[in-house]
């Protein structure tokens, strides 16, 4: 039984894994690749346990997903001085 239904827009693209990911309650990540999505696959599995989720998406969302999530800034800022209270 699917652990949860998650919309594709709520998943995070992981460059190292080359997959859309979503936190799993075990601490690992549910994962599904673009290829799997293009094939119509909707199950994102967790490599560490038996849980899986159902991904909610339209085919149109997948085809144009090359630079997905690039709007979110992920670079860390330089070490900033901490203001004295």
């Amino acid at each position: 039984m699917s652990y949860d239904d998650v919309e594709i827009e709520d998943m995070e693209w992981n460059n190292e894994l080359q997959a859309f990911t979503y936190p799993c309650p075990c601490g690992d990540l549910f994962q599904i690749t673009k290829d799997e999505l293009k094939l119509g696959e909707e199950i994102a599995r967790c490599p560490s346990c038996s849980l899986y989720i159902t991904v909610i998406y339209n085919m149109e969302e997948i085809s144009g997903e090359s630079d997905h999530k690039s709007k979110k800034s992920i670079e860390p800022s330089k070490q900033q001085p901490v203001a004295v209270a």
């Binding site: 709520d10 309650p25 670079e75 860390p76 800022s77 900033q80 203001a83 209270a85």
Partner: protein, 428 residues
């Protein structure tokens, strides 16, 4: 140490033999190594430390039993003066200091110092880098502050000083750091929005944060980060996310003595002797629910438990019970009454209540006419419960019967501590 047991440990068996002075440290080493293998697979980065965790000490192992701890955490022996050969995890036995943890990082506050370790690929450890750390390392950026509270979310952390300053670091892509942008930080940064206020406590969820502020007349809760399921409680409508703190509605005229947080798996909370106020945040990914117990009353907002719909700002549940403590998982909540009875909200995934015994006790009056199903936990007749705790999909409690601990719920990763990986639908 407990948290890492939820990682991939297939084929490994925990040693349950108590070797003198090494039980928790051994579990910690094994779990951390397994965690590191998982991390390497994902990040291809070597952990910054890389060295073996030292045995904690050769003193006899004692498990901490104060009520300020989650029942599923193990602690190394208390040491006032750690010897040079032991790692820098010295716990000062002050009952008012909270000890908190999260799925992938631990924050231990010892005498105002903060030590973090675990997963750190989002900068949530606050060491100025984005790598994991096997060993506890002090957060140098906070060394001139006395940190009284901390919270670890999925990818971000928050720290509160005794002077009421709030610092956050880690992933900020949902605005959950509260700096007014969507950038991440790898060292703790002061949340300037609160610079003229006194922040009492911070709780970090999956992609959001909630801060408790103390005032002379009343206290307030502010939320920031992802708010898709109303978990910030800051608006009557759905909001996507906010990067600057906004006040949580509906809690005016309340005195809130403390808030507690369920990180991802491990819960921490602060219990003051005289107070029964508490506020829990559920760190469900995006789907957080927050319970606030003020004056013993139950407030709910965010994702509805079970079949209830989402509520975007706190609504008080009309219920004749007075609650003293709450613990939240990802799909369930545990409520403890003053006379030691435990009730559960939700919990349909694992460790749910067996249906014949489920009783509807709470009618949650809200604009959307929600109905929160609260059921009494079976197998606890006549047993007084002192404390409840919740992981993502499992539950634990401490009974008044010689401090016996009982667990139930999802057991696949050995998190129930019962010696197998079976699920349990009632406390064992």
């Amino acid at each position: 140490a407990k948290r890492f047991s939820n990682r991939t440990l297939k084929g490994e068996s925990f040693s349950t033999k108590r070797k003198q002075g090494s039980l928790e440290a051994e579990i910690g080493v094994r779990s951390m190594e397994a965690n590191e293998r998982v991390n390497e697979k994902y990040t291809n980065k070597k952990c910054g430390a890389g060295e073996q965790v030292q045995r904690a000490s050769s003193a006899p192992v004692t498990l901490k039993t104060t009520t300020s701890l989650s029942s599923s955490l193990l602690f190394p022996p208390l040491q006032q003066n750690p010897s040079p050969s032991s790692p820098a995890v010295a716990l000062t036995p002050l009952p008012s200091l909270p000890l908190c943890g999260c799925s992938n990082e631990f924050l231990i506050v010892a005498g105002g110092r903060v030590l973090t370790w675990g997963r750190g690929t989002s900068g949530q450890l606050g060491h100025g880098d984005m790598v994991n750390s096997l060993n506890p390392k002090p957060v140098d950026a906070l060394q001139s502050f006395v940190i009284t509270h901390g919270s670890a979310g999925w990818n971000h952390s928050g720290f509160v000083s005794d002077t009421g300053c709030l610092f956050t670091c880690g992933d900020g892509s949902f605005g959950q750091l509260g700096h007014g942008d969507y950038s991440s930080r790898c060292s703790p940064v002061n949340v300037l929005y609160f610079s003229s206020r006194h922040v009492e406590q911070i709780v970090c969820g999956m992609r959001h944060s909630l801060a408790l502020l103390k005032g002379n007349v009343e206290d307030h809760v502010y939320g920031f980060g992802s708010g898709k399921r109303g978990q910030l409680g800051t608006s009557r409508d759905r909001i996507q996310s906010i990067s600057l703190p906004q006040i949580t509605l509906g809690l005016e005229d309340n005195k809130i003595a403390s808030i507690s947080a369920n990180g991802i798996i491990v819960q921490h909370y602060l219990v003051r002797p005289k107070d029964f106020y508490q506020f829990d945040i559920n760190s469900l990914p995006l789907y957080a629910s927050a319970l606030l117990i003020s004056d013993g009353h139950l407030y709910i907002w965010g994702r509805g438990f079970g079949s209830t719909t989402d509520v975007y700002c706190p609504h008080r549940a009309s219920v004749s019970l007075t609650f003293t403590q709450a613990a939240l998982g990802w799909n369930h909540a545990l409520l403890l009454t003053g006379d030691g009875t435990v009730f559960m909200l939700g919990g349909n995934h694992h460790g749910g209540l067996s249906n014949p015994q489920k009783t509807i006790l709470v009618k949650h009056t809200a604009e959307q006419s929600n109905e929160a199903l609260v059921g009494r936990i079976p197998n606890l007749d006549g047993i007084k419960v002192l404390q409840v705790a919740a992981g993502a999909e499992h539950s634990a409690l401490v009974t008044g019967k010689n401090g016996v601990i009982m667990t139930w719920g999802w057991g696949e990763h050995g998190q129930l501590g019962l010696g197998n990986s079976d699920d349990q639908t009632s406390p064992q």
